[in-house]
Symmetry: C2
Subunit: 98 residues, 2 copies
DNA sequence: CAGACTGGTCTGTGCCGCAGACTTATTCCA
DNA sequence: TGGAATAAGTCTGCGGCACAGACCAGTCTG
């Protein structure tokens, strides 16, 4: 098995999925945002976005903080340190690929 | 929608899937090989490899030529020009991403 | 001629991406 | 003040896909 093959087969599948890759890439640059921002930016459906976020949280890559802005509920999303490490590692593997 | 998001959401899903990405990346460098070479190199199961190849053929990215080596059947795999273009485009998008 | 090897194909299963309906709470407006 | 509209998600169901492994047809080997 050559190095390219190894690099690809070791890609982090949680991050590799385009829907989640978008989320992680966004959070990596903007630090923090709310659900609606992601909803508009990604153009996903609410259901899809919600499930991707749940998956990222389960993996320990994203922190989901449910709170209020005034009386309106608001969910804030942040990349965890673990998530950032995983994302950086993912990008390194991509570079190895080519 | 920012540029990174756009680049990711326009990624070619056929190629993006790691199983097929391995196949395409291999074929891009070695030009031609047979089924068993891929089988060993990728460490996939036969069923999985066969279905990925079928999908790539359907997309017009890989050419599957069934023939014989002596009396033993042999299937040769090649990237089509379309496949090469698609792969190059995929890599360009990845570069745009970061 | 039995058993092993080559070179694949077929079938089944379980997970996952995705959309949209549903929910609860608040605010706007006539 | 009652009803529509909006915010902010959650829940449910469907279809498709990745993947493994059983199966098969032909060939070689002892």
């Amino acid at each position: 098995m050559n190095e390219t093959v190894r690099a690809i087969s070791e890609l982090n599948r949680v991050i590799h999925e385009p829907g989640r890759l978008i989320i992680v890439a966004l959070l990596a640059t903007i630090e923090e945002c709310d659900f609606l921002y992601l909803l508009h930016e990604t153009e996903m459906s609410k259901g899809n976005l919600g499930s991707h976020l749940a998956r990222l949280e389960k993996a320990g890559y994203v922190e989901i903080e449910k709170g209020y802005r005034g009386k309106v509920p608001q969910t804030l999303l942040r990349l965890t340190p673990t998530g950032r490490v995983a994302f950086d590692a993912y990008r390194e593997r991509l570079k190895d690929m080519f």
